[in-house]
Symmetry: D2
Subunit: 186 residues, 4 copies
């Protein structure tokens, strides 16, 4: 049975992005990870340091292990300043370390083949100004060999605005069906 | 005399991005801020919280004050995963708080009219895969009313690679002249 | 009552893009213009020629007059090679001439304030690879002051494929409602 | 010896784009094709027509044969409305026909492996608003398997403006060296 992991990049509880994502995973057994509840330090680039990367004392490894063991990843992020939140960016930046970490010898291989989805809500013309972020996720997924299976962009500013975004809700419903079908097929 | 502030988003000392930026500010009296030397916490979105944003105990305010008082800002960031570093993203995310902070009543007004430049070095086809990041900076600067005066994309992976990127170095040299002319004209 | 003009850039009759667009204008009194049925020559840039632009003997003026008199424009184009069709591009290129044509003294003013929509169907990951085209339409509309009121991207290759694209059809239905509401409100 | 073909999409003689391109091919034996001097009709999509594509009576085949036999292609286009000119777009649109044309049985195979460069001059912030066009060329080249070896964006409006764009001229000079080195190496 396909394992679904949701990475939440929102800094606010029950954010619009979370509300939208909950529709997409309704009735699914998904592992939900709220990045704001963990400490993930910014990467310190040790690729070219004599002794490589320093060990980091934070929650990153715990999270990335769950990500590595999943089959489907939902990147659920508010659009902050036209891109993913810093919370999520710091998490992804750390992949550069994991790619060289002997404790994760097959990280890239394990990531490749996973299905990735992006769910993002923004308040400032997200269907226009959020497209660069979609491009970036595409590059990111391509680098590690994940397939970019789809994305949903929603519009909202104030709490619960997203519940008025008819098309985003329909897309979430459709994604829910799709995820259930994938789960069933495994 | 125009005040120049450089925001470094690199996590590594004397990174390629820093080396390139140093060429651009050679002989200029610029305030250099290395974000990695400070603590900037991820934003906690308090826009819709009953009591607004919580006060944050970190170095952000010290930095943003210097940014607010500048005339020209250089955003110097390595391209990590096709975007600015998480260090820099967290810093910019916090602007959402400053925009509502009574201690910075004229933040947007003070930011508008500043000139912004981006200097970025990446290792994976940055002239192609870094363009989405340029788009994002454009939206960011537009939001606060800064003019996007120019950008330099360089290519490099290993330490000092950038010193082989002839076009990036020439661009930095040209930017240096431009900055000196602006300084002199104030 | 708001006047709606549809510009079809498809080279094939009852193309997927057309089928999708027909859903969006069902029951509306819209002026439909099939660019393939007209001759629109490529622009010859006469902006800096001694005598300005040469008069062009083709159907362009007839079409642009109808566009100029509309309130809402639907740009309905297949995604050919990751952008609008050459048919439609040649039509838009000619706007540079109209902007300087004494027979259209208020062209820019008349265009500004119109609402523009883009409907586009592509066969090669249009939700990813069609985003650059959306960017371009945004710049185009911004230049002449039109508001970019929305876009629908559909997926399809073979004839009638689009009828299987549930989300695109729903979006077209929603646009239909929106257009009817605008019409009624005028 | 590597064969270089230049495709000019300008509608004006000695346009800024042409001037820039001439710097890049100075002293090189390159085949220069001015699309404005030829007739290339818009594609009529016959992929799904009973009898396939109709034969087209124009100059397209003559041009594409020279392109097919080259090793390096320079796409030299003014930025019209934030994309390549309609002249050039119509030419590329026709590749869809060539891909199915029995007279060009190895078209895709022959195109793959070629090196492609884009040289483009625009008047409205081309370093920002021209990036979507670069994205499109990337997708185009990727589709047929060509490598996107580089691009130069220049700024200019009035005739000869480009001669003031120091960075563009330097880039062209550098490209010239690069092309000569490639030629010599074959």
């Amino acid at each position: 049975m396909a394992k679904v992991v949701v990475l939440y990049g929102s800094s606010r509880t029950t954010s619009n992005t979370e509300l939208l994502t909950k529709k997409a995973i309704a009735g699914l057994d998904a592992k939900e990870i709220y990045l704001r509840d963990f400490t993930v330090k910014p990467i310190v680039d040790g690729r070219h340091a004599e002794h490589g990367f320093d060990e980091v004392d934070d929650d990153y490894d715990t999270i990335i292990k769950q990500v590595e063991q999943s089959d489907i990843i939902l990147f659920s992020t508010p659009i902050y300043w036209y891109s993913m939140s810093g919370l999520m960016k710091n998490f992804i930046d750390r992949w550069s370390q994991t790619l060289r970490d002997p404790e994760f010898p097959d990280f890239k291989k394990n990531m490749s083949g996973k299905k990735a989805y992006v769910l993002a809500v923004g308040g400032d013309e997200p269907h226009m100004k959020g497209l660069a972020m979609i491009d970036q996720f595409r590059w990111i997924f391509q680098f590690v060999g994940m397939s970019f299976a789809g994305y949903i962009i929603g519009e909202g500013n104030k709490p619960e605005d997203i519940l008025q975004d008819e098309m985003a809700l329909l897309s979430a419903k459709k994604l829910n069906k799709e995820l259930k079908a994938i789960k069933a097929a495994y």
